[in-house]
């Protein structure tokens, strides 16, 4: 579901992101965001683990969860909610869509970043 008032950001062509792959982008003014292509579809979350400083794109995806590569906290890709310690805080999730074969991220941009 795409919320109104969001700005789309082109991530990549879908063809370059097969199932099982992940891509990390840093839209202007945003923290790095990773887009995971799972067998259930595309999910986008903030890339940095809320526990410490790990890239979740380096983690292990199983179904709709990603396991952090450092201390094994598991995050639900749909909600960002961790299933247990050491992470306590959810990672932010972002809306994704595919338009004409392009993967688009949608988020509320705070202020004009240009």
């Amino acid at each position: 579901m795409i919320h109104p008032g969001t700005t789309p950001f082109a991530v990549c062509e879908l063809i370059t992101l097969p199932v099982g792959e992940v891509v990390t982008v840093t839209p202007p003014g945003m923290a790095p965001i990773s887009v995971f292509h799972t067998s259930d579809g595309l999910y986008a979350i903030d890339d940095t683990c809320t526990h410490q400083d790990a890239s979740l794109a380096d983690g292990w995806v199983e179904g709709c969860t990603v396991e952090c590569p450092l201390h094994e906290a598991c995050f639900d890709l749909r909600t960002g909610v961790p299933s247990g310690p050491p992470a306590k805080i959810a990672v932010r999730t972002h809306d994704v869509s595919i338009v004409d074969g392009t993967v688009l991220l949608h988020f509320e941009q705070k202020g004009d970043t240009r």
Binding site: A54, P69, L70, H71, P85, I89
Partner: protein
């Protein structure tokens, strides 16, 4: 015969204890749950104590393991309560006695009393001498370090190396003394242990190997460390990092089998029906290697908590987890998974040890049985998962 107990007491309110009550509730346990622990604070995380907490990058609040979701656990927390014994109650339940003279009866007991730091024999009461296990220890050490010039660390294992790394940025003179010829050879093997130990020199920390402490010198406060070869190292702070011993003595009068930890089967059952042991205090039977093994690592406490919940609830448990631990030293993430024998062949499969970014595997009879990585979590995770698959 496996009936779900009406009441469970968990002893030890730290990582293993908290993870156990979470896992029990997750698997549908609805009975009474009490967690009793010696410390005053609710469960907190120990790994940062030798790392970001020492340097001030992590606060007391960051250490806490619980979040608002845990409010719904419906657990009675009894902090500041040290168990002193485990006996049969008159009606046949397990009775845990406490240091304040009180007791609790329950159908089942999960023992998660962890471990404590080993101390240097014969050196009590000198100010400036620290071990590191609890948040109070870490606070005291941080305070000492803020006023120190010369830090001597006894032991170049993980805790010693992490403290050295944290202190290296604090404009102190840091010396690590290690009795064995190669630090970390036990967990990592000589080759990779030596590579990790090489980080000390790069960061201006002096490492003395084959160095045995003879005495700590000083009247009220420590002033120096004397080695058995006569070397005297000036020290206003000493950290003793020579391993940990399981907290088992409190159960000495029980019928529990104890041998460097509470002995359990691979499902975390002790010899007493209805009593289980998990985490740093447990020496668990490892089906794959047919030996009892005590693991003092974070992930082990969490996975055993899930196992004990499966055992108690009689739910099927997944395949045994691959042993895993990490350490963080001098800005580098070290990760190890699997098992290691001294005869395993170490193979560098990615990167270059000289650059501090690499992955190495341990191979035995043509199979990869372990993996170690410095600063390559992505490839490490892939090898770790491969190990899990080949074991399943």
């Amino acid at each position: 015969m496996n009936t779900v107990p009406n009441s469970i007491v968990v002893l030890g309110a730290s990582l293993a204890g908290l993870s156990a009550v979470r896992a029990l509730r997750e698997k549908g346990y609805t009975g009474r749950l009490v967690v009793a622990g010696s410390e005053t604070s609710l469960p907190y995380d120990r790994p940062p104590l030798s790392k970001e907490f020492l340097t001030g990058d992590v606060t007391d609040e960051d250490l806490l393991l619980m979040n608002s979701d845990d409010d719904t656990l419906d657990v009675e927390w009894r902090m500041n309560s040290t168990a002193t014994g485990l006996i049969r109650s008159p009606d046949g339940l397990h009775r845990v006695t406490f240091d304040d003279g009180s007791h609790l009866d329950a159908d089942a007991v999960v023992v998660a009393t962890g471990a404590r730091a080993r101390t240097l024999p014969g050196h009590f009461g000198l100010a400036g001498v620290h071990t590191l296990r609890s948040v109070d220890d870490a606070r005291a050490l941080r305070e000492s370090l803020s006023r120190a010039q010369n830090l001597v660390i006894v032991g170049a294992g993980f805790i010693g190396a992490e403290v050295a790394s944290s202190a290296a940025g604090m404009s102190l003179q840091v010396t690590v003394v290690e009795a064995s010829p190669t630090p970390l050879a036990g967990p990592l093997g000589i080759e990779l242990g030596a590579i990790c130990a090489g980080q000390h020199a790069v960061h201006g920390v002096r490492l003395l190997t084959g160095a045995v402490v003879d005495a700590l010198l000083g009247d009220d406060a420590v002033e120096a460390v004397r080695l058995s070869d006569g070397t005297v190292l000036p020290a206003d702070v000493v950290v003793v990092g020579i391993g940990a011993v399981p907290n088992v003595e409190w159960a000495g009068g029980s019928e529990l089998m104890i041998d460097d930890g509470f002995l359990t089967d691979s499902s975390c059952r002790t010899n007493l029906p209805g009593v289980y042991a998990i985490g740093d205090c447990a020496r668990t039977f490892d089906e794959a290697h047919q030996v009892h093994h005590r693991s003092e690592h974070w992930s082990n406490a969490v996975t055993q908590a899930a196992t004990v919940a499966d055992t108690i609830m009689a739910t099927p448990s997944g395949p045994a987890a691959i042993p895993y631990f990490w350490s963080h030293q001098y800005g580098k993430m070290l990760q190890f998974a699997g098992t290691r024998h001294s005869t395993d062949e170490v193979r560098f499969v990615d990167g270059d040890p000289g650059t501090g970014t690499f992955v190495a595997t341990y191979d035995r009879d043509g199979d990869t049985v372990g993996v170690f990585a410095m600063n390559n979590p992505r490839l490490f995770t892939r090898y770790k998962k491969q190990l899990a698959r080949s074991r399943a």
